[in-house]
């Protein structure tokens, strides 16, 4: 195996530009004649717009244009879409209200887009926005998912009770019967706190229009530029795809929040034509990211778990209210449904599961996929209730899980998914060993001596990623297929460019994808370039989210490489005057069986382009192949995480004392990069559990956590170093045997941390985030009782 091949800790090829300040993010790009856009946003959670007077603002210095919902309507620019149709259990389609690019008649959350002001400088645009006179009539509002269906506020006319859909999955009658027969029933009420994604690079866009060629260009902070082009073309109707180029250059983190097609990006590219083609740049201030990026989570759930007399789980019932915010964002509807209910079996053989979800409009920023998307919420329900059941049954939480683990594969759950491979007991054993679980009582006693309460919590998560088989998601309501494409271009000198529809915004594709090519073609990794993020360069793509770039994106590359090898063999055979069947390819060299004839990969590449040595009526010149890969199943990463916390009994300060993660990602291309993904995911989950919580004021509807002063991002001194381990059951549904690793940490860790916190305190539940104030309040009645 070469030093840069599959499985090696190859240092990242992309790092040089980032560590020398030469990364090229959207806001780093400036186009000639560029103007600046600024969005005037709603100060109200819910209001009708009585009038907008832009006359004074239009006279302000530098103003190039001011646009409102009326201009959008006059231009018949289509609204923002939700691309996944969910049907309620009564068969009715989800109730999607209008979602115009700029508000028309009504605003539905604080931060909603009211007017778009374009001026020569950012400061001039801001000043002019302040001069736009908007008259509102304030309406009753509601920011609470639990209250939405009975609230006075009616967010959209199409949904009188604010209910977008009432969806269910599983066999209700069979599950109810299982509960009737149960020896024990565990019940729990959980809130999955609303989060604000906070990729470190704020969203940004530059839209421009060239009247000479009637062609638009959009630079944008996107995880999936081709999907952005498709949506802007097909649904907004701005321009057909061949007249719109979307470029997502270096993107500073996404975590889901940069999947979606937002109003700002569409407005920039649309309005550029309105001002005569001058480019318009908009870069979000962080406060705008808080207000108007799609948020994550925000579930209120009641769950019940049935067990028999031996401690076997016999049924699970889940009822969830999921906030959608003021509008349905691009993929919002699939998150609390097919990315959530389908994972309710966890790692367990549960014969009966029934899940019911009410998705509701609230007067808040839209909620959509955020790292893990539905699967962290599912894991939180399953792993919190399983841990609670173990406590009630006085069983060790690890052994209760082991008793109920799925042990043979494939395993069909009662909630759609068919798990293909796994070894959950092996992950548990390894985690118990790395975490020194046996030594926990000793550590707990030692903590107690220092006035600290120590607790331990497990999370045996599973996720379905490698999103996704097109036919399967189509049958469930997806408006798109979720394949991936790749093109491998071998240059005449033997260097290789791979054009991929995946998009890297921190994942290290320029390295891992090149490792695959280097490994397969036996060429130096420095001779491989990965090209992504530009619809004019890359043939097509569905982008990066749902931990899909390895299992789906790399498989597309692998298929293209198969074709490259087959074609190169034909060329080599012709040049070496041999039969193609006798040509072998290994370590970058083509040989002819039974002879000493050989050609290096680069020689064959050159021969393919020179085309003198073969009959070009039989073999086309050139060496360039493309492939589309549509996966046959989801992939199912799984693992066991064990967290220990120490809580200061006086202050309520909770510290993660140790954290062990054992994951099964199947085959791993680059362990260094995979470990980095796990670290980052765990910290996002610890953030959800202990520090992060989006808060809207119920009275005013204002976002209270609107900056880093109020929304507590985990810092370096909030978290420890983690102990990682891996097991490997290769994924059978792709040739590389890969699962996905991008979301696992964030999926597993909130439950592990909160199980540890509740264990330390000896209580059933503590709401997330378990800040010192929250924990201190939980401890007060306990202290009084002890006195």
């Amino acid at each position: 195996m070469s030093e840069t091949g599959i499985g090696q800790r190859v240092k990242r090829k992309e790092d040089h530009r980032f560590i020398t300040g030469k990364g090229r993010y959207t806001d780093d790009i400036n186009l000639p004649g560029q103007t600046y856009g600024y969005f005037l946003r709603s100060p109200h959670a819910h209001a009708t717009i009585k009038s907008i007077d832009t006359s004074a603002a239009k006279k302000m210095p530098g103003v190039a244009g001011i646009f409102t919902g009326e201009d959008i309507a006059n231009d018949k620019l289509g609204g923002l879409i939700c691309g996944w149709m969910i049907h309620s259990k009564d068969g009715s389609p989800m109730k999607a209200g209008p979602h115009p690019v700029l508000a028309q008649g009504k605003v539905r959350y604080v931060g909603d887009h009211v007017a778009f002001v374009v001026a020569a400088t950012k400061e001039q645009a801001k000043a002019a926005a302040a001069a736009v006179d908007v008259s509102y009539a304030v309406l009753p509002h509601n920011v609470d998912a639990a209250m939405a269906m009975t609230a006075k506020a009616q967010v959209h006319d199409v949904a009188p009770d604010n209910r977008v859909f009432n969806w269910s999955l599983g066999d209700q009658a069979a599950t109810d019967a299982a509960f009737k027969a149960a020896a024990h029933v565990t019940k729990i009420d959980l809130v999955n706190n609303r989060l604000i994604p906070n990729a470190m690079e704020p969203r940004a866009a530059i839209g421009s229009y060239d009247s000479g060629s009637d062609h638009f260009t959009l630079y944008t902070t996107s995880q999936n530029p081709h999907v952005a082009r498709l949506v802007i073309s097909a649904f907004h109707g701005l321009a057909p795809e061949h007249k719109l180029r979307v470029i997502a250059p270096d993107v500073g983190g996404g975590f889901g929040s940069k999947i979606f097609i937002y109003a700002e990006e569409v407005a920039c590219v649309w309005a550029s034509k309105k001002i005569g083609g001058r480019p318009i740049k908009w870069t979000a201030e962080r406060s705008e990211s808080f207000l108007a990026d799609a948020h994550g989570r925000d579930h209120v759930t009641h769950a019940e778990l049935a067990t028999d007399a031996t401690g076997k789980i016999t049924g699970l019932r889940v009822n969830t209210k999921a906030a959608m915010g003021g509008y349905l964002s691009t993929f919002a509807s699939c998150v609390p449904t097919y990315l959530y209910g389908t994972l309710m079996s966890g790692q367990y053989a549960i014969p009966n599961i029934y899940v019911e979800v009410d998705a509701v409009y609230t007067n808040t920023a839209p909620v959509d996929a955020y790292r893990g998307a539905g699967r962290p919420e599912a894991t939180y329900v399953v792993e919190r209730i399983v841990e609670t059941a173990a406590r009630e049954l006085k069983m060790d939480p690890g052994e209760f899980r082991r008793k109920n683990f799925i042990k043979s594969f494939p395993h069909q759950t009662p909630v759609i998914m068919c798990y293909d491979a796994g070894d959950y007991a092996a992950a548990l054993d390894k985690a118990l060993q790395i975490a020194d679980y046996k030594g926990f009582p000793g550590r707990k006693a030692e903590s107690a001596k220092r006035g600290k309460l120590r607790g331990v919590g497990f999370s045996a998560y599973i996720e379905a990623c490698g999103i996704a088989p097109s036919a399967a998601v189509g049958s469930l309501g997806a408006g798109v297929g979720l394949w991936e494409s790749a093109e491998v271009r071998v240059n005449p000198v033997g260097t290789v460019e791979v054009l991929t529809g995946s998009h890297s915004h921190g994942q290290g594709h320029e390295t891992t994808f090149a490792q695959l090519v280097s490994d397969r073609l036996g060429i130096d990794i420095d001779n491989v370039a990965i090209v992504h993020g530009d619809t004019d360069k890359v043939q097509f793509g569905m982008g990066t989210y749902g931990s899909r770039s390895g299992a789906v994106g790399m498989t597309a590359i692998s298929k293209a490489l198969d074709k490259i090898e087959a074609k190169a063999k034909r060329v080599a055979a012709a040049v070496m005057e041999a039969s193609t069947n006798d040509v072998e390819f290994k370590n970058g060299t083509f040989t002819v069986k039974g002879t000493d004839k050989k050609m290096a990969f680069g020689e064959v590449a050159l021969a393919a382009y020179v085309a003198h040595k073969f009959n070009s009526a039989e073999i086309e010149p050139g060496l360039k192949e493309s492939a589309f890969h549509d996966p046959s199943n989801f992939v199912f990463p799984a693992g066991v995480h064990i967290c220990e916390v120490e809580i200061d009994a006086d202050t309520g300060v909770t510290e993660v004392a140790s954290y062990t993660a054992v994951d099964d990602f199947g085959n791993i291309i680059n362990p260094m990069i995979v470990e980095g993904q796990v670290h980052g995911g765990i910290v996002q989950g610890i953030g959800q559990a202990l520090t992060e919580g989006c808060v809207y004021d119920k009275e005013s509807g204002q976002l209270l956590t609107g900056s880093y002063m109020d929304y507590c991002m985990p810092r370096a001194d909030n978290v420890p170093s983690f102990k990682l381990g891996f097991i490997c059951t290769p994924c059978p549904s792709n040739p590389l045997g890969m699962k996905g690793c991008g979301e696992a940490g964030a999926i597993a860790s909130p439950a592990a941390v909160m199980n540890a916190v509740t264990d330390a305190l000896g209580v059933r539940d503590v709401p997330m985030p378990a800040t010192p104030q929250v924990v201190w309040q939980v401890m007060q009645p306990m202290k009084k009782a002890a006195e």
């Binding site: 240092k11 990242r12 992309e14 790092d15 040089h16 530009r17 980032f18 560590i19 020398t20 300040g21 030469k22 990364g23 090229r24 993010y25 806001d27 780093d28 906070n198 990729a199 470190m200 690079e201 704020p202 270096d250 993107v251 500073g252 983190g253 975590f255 201030e285 962080r286 406060s287 915004h505 921190g506 994942q507 290290g508 260094m672 990069i673 470990e675 980095g676 796990v678 670290h679 980052g680 995911g681 765990i682 910290v683 996002q684 900056s707 880093y708 002063m709 991002m713 810092r715 370096a716 001194d717 978290v719 170093s721 983690f722 940490g745």
Partner: protein, 154 residues
């Protein structure tokens, strides 16, 4: 508009700025040094950290005009004659970055930490010193490893 002059990465630069122009905007817009990033509007995230007269400063919180006559070092000025600064090299070596957006500020803060606290840094010290730099990707573990290794080589 007032004219200012400062030394940036060893080169004398001049420019006209509004009195309200921030140092980060002067670096990014006037000088085209886009390695210094803006990640927030409350001086919390640290993506904009540069060195002014040898000390780490959040350039989103300094007025350009206040740096008239100062010597400023940005991420672009760390490598010398094509050789990376040991802290840059350490971030690459230890996978201390993913999306790269917080990285310039992290590296500038880390070098400042070494300048103030010495080359032998324990984990707790590094974590405390990086409190003013937010990273959403790495979970900090590899950043801590990178700073520790980079410090030792400075």
């Amino acid at each position: 508009m007032p004219a200012i002059s400062m030394k940036v990465n060893g080169q004398v630069v001049t420019g006209e700025v509004e009195a309200r122009t921030l140092l980060v905007d002067f670096l990014r817009s006037n000088l085209g040094l886009t390695g210094t990033h803006v990640g927030c509007d409350t001086s919390q995230c640290g993506a904009c950290v540069v060195h002014v007269d040898g000390r780490a400063v959040k350039s989103c919180t300094a007025l350009a005009i206040a740096c008239d006559g100062a010597s400023v070092t940005t991420i672009e000025g760390l490598a010398r004659n094509g050789t990376l600064h040991p802290m840059q090299e350490a971030f690459r070596e230890h996978h201390g970055l993913q999306c790269g957006f917080c990285t310039p500020g992290m590296i500038m803060s880390a070098i400042d930490t070494v300048n103030r606290r010495g080359k032998t840094l324990d984990e707790a010290t590094i974590r405390h010193e990086l409190e003013g730099n937010i990273c959403r990707c790495t979970g900090y573990q590899n950043i801590v490893a990178a700073v520790q290794a980079g410090a030792a080589k400075m």
